[in-house]
Amino acid sequence: MEFFKKGSGELVAFVLVLPILCLIIMFMATLIQVTIARQKLEYATYSICRAAVISDDYPTAMENAKFVAEENNGFNITFYKYDGSGVLGSSDWEKGNYVALKATEKIEPLFPIFFSDTYYSIVVMMIE
C-alpha cells in the first residue's frame, strides 16, 4: 500500500490531464480529417470540371459533371462564368470560353466545434 501511496499524487495528476491529452489527439485527428477531405475535394473538382469541359454541349456537360460529382463523394457543384457575372447558362457554352466550377462539401470531423463547416474548392478551365 505504501508503494502506491508514494506515487499517488502524480498518478492523480496524470488522470486529470488525460482528458486534455485525449482532446489534443482528437484535435490532431480532426486537422488530418479536414486536410484529407479538402485534398480529395480539390482533386474531385478537377475531375468534375474536366468531365464537363470536354463534353460536346451544355446539357451533356452538366450531366457528366453531375455524375462524376455524385460518384466521387456527392459534392454540390455550380458552374459560374469566369468573369464573375453569374451562373453559367447554355448560351455561354462555347469552345474557348472559360468556366469556373465551385464544388462544396459539408465536412463533419471528429472535433466539430471549430471545424464542422462547408468547405469549397474552385477551379477554372477552358471549354474544349
Binding site: F3, F4, K6, G7, S8, G9, E10, L11, F14, L18, L21, I25, M28, A29, I32, T35, I36, Q39, K40, Y43, A44, Y46, S47, R50, A51, I54, S55, T60, E63, N64, F67, V68, E71, N72
Partner: protein, 143 residues
C-alpha cells in the same frame, strides 16, 4: 551508503508514478506519430489515385489504360508495399452515358473508377491497416 539510500528515496514517489504512467504516455505518443503517418500516407494515396487515373483516361483503349495503371502502380509501390487496386467502368443508368458504356468499348463519355488500397504500417498497431482512396473520372479519348 545510508546517504545514498536517502537520496534515492526522496524521488521514489515520482519514479513509481513515472513507471506506471510510462506505458500510457508511450501509447499516446506512438498514436500521435501514427496519426501523422496515416495523414501523409493518405495524402500520397489521394495524389497517386488522381494522377494514375488521369493518365489512364487519356489512353486510346481500355487495355492500354490497364497497362498504364499496372506500370504506374508498380513504379510507385513496387514490391515494397502490400497493395491492390480495382479499375472498373461505372454506368450512369439515369443518363445518356449508358449509350456509350453498353457497347463495352472505351469511348469518350464513359466513366471509370480507380480505387487503390495500400497497407499502411505505422508506429501504433491500432492505426496499421489497409487504407484506400478512389476517384471517378470521365474517359477523354475522342474515339
Amino acid at each position: 551508503m545510508e546517504r545514498l539510500k536517502k537520496f534515492f528515496s526522496r524521488g521514489g514517489g515520482s519514479l513509481y508514478s513515472a513507471t506506471i504512467t510510462l506505458p500510457f504516455l508511450t501509447f499516446i505518443l506512438s498514436y500521435i506519430v501514427s496519426l501523422v503517418q496515416v495523414a501523409i500516407s493518405l495524402e500520397n494515396l489521394n495524389y497517386s489515385v488522381y494522377s494514375i487515373c488521369r493518365e489512364a483516361v487519356v489512353c486510346q483503349s481500355r487495355s492500354e489504360a490497364e497497362d498504364v495503371i499496372a506500370e504506374k502502380m508498380d513504379e510507385q509501390y513496387g514490391s515494397s508495399f502490400d497493395y491492390f487496386y480495382v479499375f472498373e467502368e461505372i454506368i450512369n443508368e439515369d443518363g445518356f452515358a449508358i449509350e456509350h458504356t453498353d457497347d463495352g468499348k472505351w469511348n469518350k463519355g464513359d466513366f471509370v473508377k480507380l480505387e487503390i488500397t495500400v497497407f499502411v504500417s505505422t508506429a501504433s498497431p491500432f492505426n496499421s491497416e489497409y487504407k484506400s482512396a478512389s476517384i471517378v473520372m470521365m474517359v477523354e479519348n475522342p474515339a
